[in-house]
């Protein structure tokens, strides 16, 4: 049994690919996970994020590429010899073992003697605050408690890398927020690397040091939450980062810093992301960045179609003359069918070259 290396530096994925019957579920994922880093794999279902995680864990053999732990190639090792901790989406707790035996399983498999294992299990139990439940079977625990057991079981062996497969997707909204903090706290406390799979951009943005956005098995963008939020590289990522207003227009003045896009009575200045060319471009604006203002050049005229109070402000939609539905925010309550002129600052209007065939 290979002992977990406690002094490792980084894990490198080099063009990792996995196909199923000729369909590529994951293609050329290249990524270096630094020590202590929290990486989120983000994407819609079927994007290849779970495939990537299973490839890392050793549960799925690669069909291409390699994985390295420092200078050691590990992609041909079976999961039991990689020594990564994994938290499964359905927790995968051993139903016939008590909480304590579940958590101690990894240590028992590594042949850690009792007097050494016991204090480590106690530490892990304390870290996930399950002291009162160590003697219970998993079936007697609530979803949130089972989740904690799964985390404790994965971290007690002090793996260089902890893999988490949508660990919060089975919990209710309140608990999900609490556990999110817990997971980040435990990650910081251990100082080890975590790869976290999710389809929830809020989770990824709040937890991760770096986010890998996947779509159709390919990496669309890798960056910090701030980068992805403010400067998505492609339209897909923008959509995922909450740019709900996406429409096409004709490029009129395609500068590198600022470009003008026109569409049926709308004339909008925006920031190009990548080369636009001279044809059509997609415009992406976040609802939070679009607010009612004065009529005049650069405003989008429309009539209010719906208004919802969401706490601090109103989330509203407006319909333009050519049938475009725009999501925007307002500090005042607007009445239905009221005319509005929506404005966004040109830095917050992102322009992408229109996708071929789109």
């Amino acid at each position: 049994m290979a002992k977990a290396d406690h002094t490792f530096g980084e894990i490198r994925l080099d063009r990792v690919s996995r196909g199923f019957d000729g369909v590529m579920a994951l293609q050329d994922l290249t990524l270096t996970i630094r020590r202590g880093e929290f990486i989120a794999l983000l994407g819609p279902s079927g994007c290849g994020k779970s495939t990537a995680l299973n490839c890392l864990a050793g549960l799925l053999p690669l069909t291409g590429g390699s994985i390295w732990l420092d200078d050691r190639r590990i992609d041909e090792l079976p999961p039991e010899r990689r020594g990564f901790g994994m938290v499964f989406q359905n927790y995968a707790l051993f139903p016939h073992m008590t909480v304590r035996r579940n958590i101690g399983f990894g240590l028992a498999m590594r042949g850690v003697p009792r007097h050494e294992a016991d204090p480590r299990i106690d530490d892990a139990v304390r870290m996930v605050q399950l002291e009162a439940h160590v003697g219970k079977l998993p079936g007697q625990l609530s979803g949130g408690q089972q989740q904690r057991v799964a985390i404790a079981r994965a971290i007690v062996v002090q793996p260089p890398l902890v893999l988490m497969d949508e660990p919060l997707s089975n919990l209710d909204a309140r608990l999900r927020l609490d556990m999110r903090h817990e997971i980040r706290r435990i990650h910081n406390e251990l100082g080890r690397s975590t790869v976290y799979v999710t389809h929830d951009q809020d989770e990824a943005l709040s937890l991760a040091d770096r986010i890998v956005v996947l779509r159709d098995g390919r990496v669309r963008q890798i960056g910090t939450p701030e980068e992805l939020y403010a400067r998505p590289a492609v339209l897909d990522v923008a959509r995922f980062m909450g740019y709900r207003n996406v429409f096409e227009g004709r490029v009129e003045d395609g500068g590198a810093e600022r470009a003008i896009v026109v569409r049926d009575g709308i004339r909008l200045a925006g920031t190009p992301r990548g080369a636009l060319g001279s044809g059509r471009a997609s415009v992406a604006i976040r609802p939070e960045e679009l607010i009612p203002g004065e009529d005049g050049p650069g405003a989008i005229p429309g009539v209010v179609e719906s208004v919802e109070f969401v706490g601090r402000e109103y989330a509203a939609t407006a319909l333009t003359a050519d049938g475009l539905l725009l999501h925007f925010r307002s500090h005042q309550r607007l009445s239905l069918d009221e005319p509005v002129h929506l404005r966004a600052s040109p830095e917050r209007v992102l322009l992408f070259a229109a996708e071929e065939g789109a």
Binding site: G58, L59, N90, A92, F94, P95, H96, L137, L141
Partner: protein, 303 residues
């Protein structure tokens, strides 16, 4: 219930009979149990009680004369050992074969086709299998001729009209049953459990020992009991393929002879009761040992 809302005071606090019965699990749907209950009483409990009473009414002697006779005559009581010696190994071999095959078939792409092929013997019935084996395993059968042609053996091996004929037939007819049960237990285990064990450092042997086996034991115990009871009541193949006067004189043959050769139905009933008691002892012992193991859901948490 409108009549109840009209009631007032203490009478309304007390739920009516129908509600109280419903709370105890009795409602009109419970009546659907009646046909099955009648069936069990008429076809199982009554004949069993009749046989039990009959066994205490021997042709000669006191209340326990039949039982005393059985346990004082080696020609009779030896049949218990003979039947055990056939039924236990055949059942154990079937379980030992079924478990690894079930593990393989679980991942097999054409699982249904393979399962169908493996299960066909169950549809044939013991007599047809016995007839087939007589030809196949006989001195002039395919097996012996092939082995002689290949030079593996010099003269035909005797595989029928002795212990091995009956044993093989028990294995063949019992396997599909054990296999189907085992397959359902094996596929019932969440595949994430062995995967989780693997990420925690458990190799294939440890995963089997710590995850699969403890979760399978309760199911395997039930499969064992059902298969053993079936094997213990072996009759047609013991007569057709075995040596019913000697090495394969199983307990059901003794009962048959008492009933239809000596026309001593009381003695036959007593033998049948002894046969049932032996089966019961084995089943109770196995199921009792089963309570030592975990018997909860095989999934993991909230799926």
């Amino acid at each position: 219930m409108t009549s109840q809302t009209a009631l007032s005071g203490s009478a309304a606090d007390r739920p009516n009979l129908r509600r109280r019965l419903a709370a105890a699990g009795w409602d009109r749907i419970t009546l659907l149990v009646l046909p099955a209950a009648a069936f069990v009483v008429l076809l199982f409990i009554y004949p069993f009680a009749y046989g039990l009473v009959l066994s205490f009414q021997p042709a000669a002697g006191g209340l326990f004369a039949n039982y005393a006779k059985f346990f004082s005559d080696p020609y009779l009581y030896d049949t218990i050992g003979t039947t055990m010696w056939l039924g236990l190994p055949a059942t154990l071999i079937n379980m030992a074969l079924a478990l690894p095959i079930a593990f393989q078939v679980r991942h097999f792409r054409w699982q249904r086709i393979l399962t169908t092929i493996l299960v066909i013997p169950i549809t044939l019935g013991t007599v047809l299998v016995a007839e087939g084996l007589l030809t196949y395993l006989g001195p002039q059968g395919w097996l012996n001729r092939t082995l002689i042609e290949l030079g593996v053996i010099g003269s035909p091996v005797r595989l029928i009209h002795n212990y091995w004929g009956v044993f093989l037939s028990l294995v063949i007819t019992g396997f599909p049953f054990v296999f189907l049960l085992t397959l359902s237990y094996v596929t019932g285990i969440d595949p994430a459990l062995p995967q989780a064990a693997a990420t925690l450092g458990a190799g294939p042997a440890s995963r089997f020992r710590h995850i699969f086996l403890p979760l399978l034991v309760p199911g395997l115990a039930v499969a064992f009991c059902l298969a053993f009871v079936q094997a213990f009541s072996v009759f047609p193949s013991a007569v057709l393929l075995g040596a019913p006067a000697g090495p394969t004189r199983v307990i059901s043959i003794a009962a048959y002879q008492a009933a239809f050769e000596q026309y001593d139905h009381s003695m036959a009933s007593a033998i049948a009761m002894i046969m049932g008691a032996v089966q019961l002892v084995v089943v109770v012992a196995v199921l009792g040992a089963r309570t030592l193991f975990y018997r909860g859901p095989m999934g993991s948490g909230k799926g």
